[in-house]
């Protein structure tokens, strides 16, 4: 089953720990690659409603309504994209002058009545951001980590969402106009939104206001994509070297998991944490403390793709030694006696993070939304599965890691 149906809400998470109320209005729409560059332009161009001639007028309205934050963001899960509006205001219990109705009305005005010119977004503003993104793409190519990270995904996970980047969608920028961007925006806000609120109280008041200002459709359920796995298969080993005008050199090894299954995702995550989390730090210990090869080294994994990368920023003369050390590290994963205490460490580290997350409002909100919309395991569910991972599982999966890509970017500049 590729889709699930969810009620639109509003969903409430009662929380007394914070002095603020946050409301998120999230519009799901069909993800299409052809709209890839419209999203970043849209995220920048929305800055006021049509009732405010200047940005400064809208800023005044926000301040006078005690709005701490009013902004937008974007997520993508499978074929469903989510355009999200976030409103944060003080809890009226702390500042009695706060009017919940005025704040939500302003939010609705911002969403449904954006500032337009000739039935579209301001052409000059749209063109400004198109130029900015052309320049941003060019500038990122000059930065060691940005460039290398993008290229690595391009060569090791081609034609997947992992390899999507601003660079390989740049050609879409010049097709965007104020009018077609507004038309795209209208399809977004025409959909039925989910609404989430983190608040100590005031659920009924918020519900009534959401019904009054935010919901435009009668339907109470929304169809969204169900998250799936896209395990990558190894085709053939590739070793790629590039030369760039950087001061540092970048070395990466990409492994794909042979015969990857859903339950392997937790073991792969455990391997990732064994390599680079502070309670284990295998990469740092081997690459830096024992062999003086790096200042920075790390790993990252994409469990739903069965993909893990080990990376290091090194001196151009250290390539062979760094390569040898990275490969030794992956062999270490098969040493159950070595791994066993470190595996316990990372489980404890995850447990501690879950306790700390109780103080992190952003994390609480993100988890609340992700859990409700089934964007993956909840933190607790994931932790329980992680706790079941044993050293023999690490060994077993390590034996199924197939070296897919060796990527080296030689930086030609010499630092003084």
């Amino acid at each position: 089953m590729m889709y699930i149906e969810k009620k639109r809400g509003p969903y409430f998470l009662k929380n007394n720990a914070f002095g603020t109320i946050t409301i998120s209005v999230i519009f799901p729409f069909k993800y299409q690659d052809k709209n890839y560059m419209k999203i970043p332009i849209l995220l920048n161009i929305l800055n006021r409603s049509n009732n405010y001639k200047e940005k400064s007028d809208f800023k005044k309205a926000k301040i006078n309504n005690y709005i701490i934050a009013l902004n937008q963001s974007y997520e993508n899960v499978e074929n469903t994209a989510y355009f999200r509006f976030n409103l944060t205001i003080p809890n009226p219990n702390r500042i009695p002058e706060v009017s919940l109705e005025k704040a939500i009305a302003l939010l609705a005005d911002y969403i449904y009545n954006p500032f337009l010119e000739n039935n579209g977004f301001e052409e000059k503003e749209v063109q400004k951001y198109i130029d900015i993104y052309h320049k941003e793409i060019k500038e990122r190519e000059e930065l060691t980590v940005n460039y290398s990270y993008r290229r690595l995904l391009e060569i090791s996970a081609p034609k997947t969402k992992l390899s999507n980047s601003l660079k390989n969608h740049e050609y879409l920028l010049d097709e965007i106009t104020g009018q077609n961007l507004y038309k795209f925006y209208q399809t977004i806000i025409d959909s039925n939104p989910f609404v989430f609120a983190i608040t100590p109280n005031l659920e009924q008041e918020i519900t009534d206001l959401i019904n009054k200002y935010i919901y435009k459709k009668k339907e109470e359920t929304i169809k969204i994509s169900k998250i799936r796995n896209h395990f990558l298969t190894f085709k053939e080993f590739q070793a790629i070297t590039e030369e760039k005008d950087f001061f540092q050199s970048y070395l990466a090894l990409v492994y794909k998991v042979k015969d990857m299954k859903n339950k392997d995702r937790y073991t792969l995550y455990a391997i990732d944490r064994l390599l680079s989390s502070q309670s284990s730090f295998i990469l740092l210990k081997k690459m830096r403390l024992e062999n003086d090869l790096v200042y920075t080294t790390g790993s990252y994994s994409y469990g739903r793709y069965g993909y893990i990368a080990l990376t290091a920023l090194i001196n151009k003369t250290s390539k062979e030694k760094a390569l040898k050390t990275l490969k030794e590290v992956t062999e270490l994963l098969k040493d159950e006696k070595y791994i066993s205490p470190l595996l316990e460490n990372i489980k404890n580290e995850e447990r501690i993070e879950m306790i700390k997350d109780k103080d992190r409002k952003g994390t609480i909100i993100r988890n609340f939304i992700a859990d409700t919309l089934e964007w993956g395991d909840t933190d607790e569910q994931f932790y329980k599965k992680l706790c079941k991972v044993k050293p023999c599982d690490i060994n077993e999966l390590a034996n199924r890691l197939v070296l897919d890509t060796e990527y080296f970017v030689r930086g030609n500049k010499d630092a003084k």
């Binding site: 002095g19 800023k59 301040i63 709005i67 701490i68 702390r94 730090f281 306790i355 103080d359």
Partner: protein, 420 residues
């Protein structure tokens, strides 16, 4: 917001601050040494030192990796504690963050800071990771630009980079490192803050017991006053480096030598508001500069407080450098004040202050900064942002913006076109 701050001064001169918040689930502890990359000229036990860049940062690495307890970062990890350290131009900070085993981790952190293992072998080992860190910083677009600004703003400072160059670190002797350590790593030049959900009496006892067994640093060290004049060394410069648009920045060197700590705190608030009103994201001036094709998009503003000066920086990607400079100079020299706009900024600050309830870091980081930059151990309150309009006008009117340097970061291909 309740003021849950208590202060203790130990026999050895270390000030310890406790900030209790039993609504939180974690504890944050930070040891701050008021010694950063800027401090290169000092006297230790009667001998004068003028050192290269990067020593404060070098010591930070040394203490993390080669203290008596072992490697501070890996040992913290073994206790499921997040830890790190960082060196700015004004201070070096070591912190631990956790829920359990904090007493262990605090012991490790203090043991390493107060018991470094100064051997040649360790000294040479520390260098290697720093070489890679230097290469990383060289890759940054504004690295050379900021180095040049330091050269042009100050007559008597040869500071180029907080972490030094490869040659400087290669040449760095262990004796120099030890001298800096003895001069600045003294409890009277440090403070410790513990914040969050914890038993204050238990931690106070642990800290006192720790220092009861420590060797006392009896070295006499103090900074040399470089007698930096009010003026800048050079009014403008150009740096050529790959950039999509020219970046133009004006940095004002403003004398604050005679301001008290409280006055500096108020200055930060008022100048911050003045910059936001004139150059902020939704300011009419910024919108006009965009419409007139003078700037590309936003204007970057920030303040950097030093012991005798505040450097006020205003910069942007520009399409018309001359017009940008002229506009900024006009705003800073012909100061105008709009009461309505000012009161709006104040109202926004007061509303946003409520976010400090939400996070331990949002409460204590400004407190730590007040000590480092203003020598003022003061926990901000909402009322501190509500400075009356007349006082705001007075504070800004008294600022002298006549000493400045203008920097241009230009793409090499535009070198021939540059008429500046």
């Amino acid at each position: 917001m309740p003021n849950n701050l208590t202060t203790y001064v130990l026999d050895n001169g270390l000030t310890v601050y406790f900030y209790n918040d039993n609504n939180k689930h974690s504890i944050h502890a930070e040891l701050v040494t008021k010694y950063g990359g800027r401090y290169k000229d000092f006297i230790l036990d009667g001998k004068e030192y003028h050192i290269s860049d990067g020593v404060a940062h070098f010591i930070e690495h040394f203490l993390c990796e080669h203290g008596k307890a072992g490697n501070f970062l890996t040992l913290s990890g073994d206790n499921f504690i997040e830890s790190n350290a960082f060196t700015s131009l004004d201070a070096t900070r070591y912190y631990i963050d956790g829920v359990e085993n904090m007493e262990n981790a605090l012991n490790i952190m203090l043991t390493n800071i107060y018991n470094p293992l100064f051997t040649i072998e360790n000294h040479e080992k520390v260098k290697k990771a720093i070489y890679e860190e230097i290469r990383r910083s060289n890759d940054r677009k504004f690295f050379d630009f900021n180095v040049k600004f330091n050269e042009c703003l100050f007559h008597n400072s040869n500071l180029k980079s907080n972490i030094g160059t490869i040659k400087e670190i290669e040449d760095l002797k262990l004796e120099t490192v030890k001298a800096c350590y003895h001069a600045f790593y003294k409890p009277t030049n440090q403070f410790l803050i513990i914040a969050g959900n914890f038993d204050k009496e238990k931690y106070l006892k642990q800290i006192k017991d720790f220092f009861a067994n420590q060797h006392i640093n009896k070295h006499e060290g103090y900074l040399i006053d470089t007698k930096e004049p009010l003026t800048t060394k050079k009014n403008s410069f150009k740096v050529y480096k790959k950039t999509t648009d020219t970046y133009t920045s004006i940095r004002y060197k403003i004398n604050i030598k005679n301001l008290s700590p409280r006055e500096r705190l108020d200055l930060e608030s008022c100048l911050g508001n003045y910059l936001a009103i004139n150059f902020g994201y939704s300011s009419s001036l910024k919108t006009k500069l965009e419409k007139d094709n003078i700037i590309v998009e936003h204007i970057d503003c920030y303040m950097e407080f030093q012991p005798n000066f505040v450097i006020c920086s205003i910069g942007a990607m520009t399409k018309n450098e001359e017009a940008f400079v002229k506009t900024v100079q006009n705003v800073m020299n012909n100061k105008s004040f709009d009461k309505e706009l000012y009161e709006l900024e104040v109202k926004q600050s007061l509303t946003r202050f409520i976010l400090r309830y939400d996070s331990l870091q949002k409460t204590i980081i400004p407190f730590i900064d007040n000590i480092i930059y203003f020598d003022y151990p003061y926990l901000d309150e909402a009322k501190d942002f509500d400075i009356p309009f007349d006082k705001y006008k007075e504070i800004i009117s008294n600022l002298d913006f006549s000493n400045y340097t203008i920097g241009y970061l230009i793409d090499p291909k535009d070198k021939e076109d540059s008429t500046k």
